[in-house]
């Protein structure tokens, strides 16, 4: 039975009066489980990126919120997400990332599935040498597919299958960034990295979507990107973040720069935007590159951040890409002590969720408000069910 926390009402007050989410939302395993249900299951959340399975037949097992899932690019090129379990005895099908040459064979009794998830073989299911049996209808026993959608190369999933279509739910952001609705080319192995941080995933979101901390935590940005050059991005119930008006392109010693995305409006000459699309994906767009960070909760106090960088052209300079990856890695690593420090701070029993700067913390409060609203709805539904 979910906990009904009256302090959630405090979170939902106007920013001048609101407190942040209570400590338990960051450290309590049972509340963490409730949040997984309330914040991840019914809506769209990020799982991975399509570039994780670049070639037909590529399969990547992913444990997400404790669920064994399988990201799979079918032989015809379509990326799908399945439960990584055989329809026979629930055995895990794929243990390690690998290429599926033909079919996925369950290592237990060798039931086989196509890369589209169709059950194609049920050996000896009717006895030795007999591969059909009454009640075993292969057409209804394919891999259980998780509803998915790809946007900005992120593989979004709706686990319950009940959400409105992704494009409908996220129409506002898709329109906002419509100029980036064009091919994004993953930079490859040099353009991805993973950070493991000892904090609740929400702290990574909260830190990402505000610019207040930039001059203090990222002094290197200060020389050209001052606090007053930033603006808030706030779309209640959907996303929040920050934008800058003074984005400067990376240029290496040879004077090389990345090519711009085609046909961007003048705004993007110097603008860049960084948005947390709730719950767990952090996106950034610039005239010459974009990135996606998929946060994968590992329990209440640990999070994996999978970071991927994208470019406008498939043949961008490897040296420049490496430099850009190193730059972003430095920035994101600078944030680690902050999110881990806030996590440790959540064990102080008298911490009351904290107060927000009305001028600077709007995007963070907006995220808290979304969490609180979802939790209230979830608690209400659970109570009604009882």
């Amino acid at each position: 039975m979910p906990t009904t926390d009256t302090s959630l009402m405090n979170v939902r007050q106007s920013i001048e009066h609101a407190n942040g989410l209570p400590n338990a939302h960051y450290i309590d395993p049972s509340l963490h489980s409730e949040e997984n249900q309330a914040l991840f299951m019914d809506g769209w959340c990020g799982l991975a990126v399509a570039a994780d399975v670049p070639e037909p037949g590529d399969a990547q097992p992913i444990t997400f919120l404790g669920m064994p899932l399988l990201l799979l690019r079918g032989k015809e090129g379509t990326v799908r997400v399945f439960q990584n379990t055989c329809r026979h005895r629930g055995m895990i099908l794929v243990e390690e990332p690998r290429k599926i040459e033909g079919a996925i064979r369950c290592p237990y009794h060798s039931w086989c599935y196509s890369t589209q998830g169709k059950l194609v073989s049920t050996p000896h299911v009717g006895g030795p040498g007999q591969n059909q049996a009454e009640g075993i209808d292969r057409d209804t026993l394919g891999l259980v597919e998780i509803r998915s959608h790809i946007w900005m190369d992120v593989v979004w999933i709706n686990i319950s299958g009940t959400a409105a279509p992704f494009e409908e739910v996220n129409a506002n952001l898709i329109a906002r960034w419509s100029e980036f609705n064009k091919p994004l080319y993953h930079g490859g192995a040099d353009s991805q990295f993973q950070l493991e941080v000892n904090c609740n995933w929400k702290l990574a979101v909260e830190n990402y979507c505000e610019s207040y901390h930039l001059p203090w935590v990222h002094p290197g940005l200060n020389s050209y990107s001052r606090l007053e050059d930033h603006y808030h991005i706030e779309e209640p119930g959907q996303y929040s973040g920050q934008g800058t008006l003074v984005y400067r392109q990376l240029k290496n010693e040879k004077g090389e720069q990345f090519q711009d995305f085609d046909k961007l409006s003048d705004k993007w000459d110097t603008a860049a935007e960084y948005i947390a699309l709730y719950p767990n994906v952090l996106l950034g767009v610039h005239r010459d590159h974009a990135f996606a960070i998929v946060l994968v909760p590992q329990g209440p106090e640990r999070t994996i951040e999978n970071i991927h960088l994208y470019y406008a052209q498939p043949d961008s300079s490897p040296e420049l890409r490496a430099e850009n990856t190193a730059l972003w890695k430095t920035v994101f690593k600078e944030d680690i002590f902050v999110v881990e420090g806030m996590q440790r701070g959540r064990h102080a029993p008298m911490f009351d969720g904290g107060r927000f700067s009305p001028a600077m913390d709007g995007p963070t409060h907006m995220f808290h408000d979304w969490v609180a609203a979802r939790m209230q709805t979830y608690c209400g539904q659970a109570q009604a069910a009882e």
Binding site: E101, G102, A103, I104, R105, S110, C112, V120, S121, P123, H124, P128, G129, Q130, N131, Q132, R138
Partner: protein, 72 residues
């Protein structure tokens, strides 16, 4: 057959799906009973499917003809 058994065990050890499929076809051909033939052909089919071998379709047809595999 004991030679075939050894080869099968070695192929299993190596995880060599193509070789396994081929050896199980041989085992099916050597089998005297229909049920044993279907048993081995089923294994040949499964490993051919897993390895993405074109031989899988021919083996499937044989299993269908023997009543061991549903018609598509």
């Amino acid at each position: 057959m004991s030679d075939l058994n050894t080869q099968l065990l070695e192929a299993h050890q190596r995880g060599d799906g193509a070789e396994l499929s081929s050896l199980y076809v041989d085992a099916a051909h050597a089998a005297l009973e229909a049920r044993a033939k279907c048993f081995y052909l089923t294994h040949a089919y499964v490993f051919a499917l897993e390895a993405g071998l074109s031989a899988a379709e021919e083996i499937r047809k044989q299993l269908v003809a023997l009543g061991a595999e549903p018609k598509i």
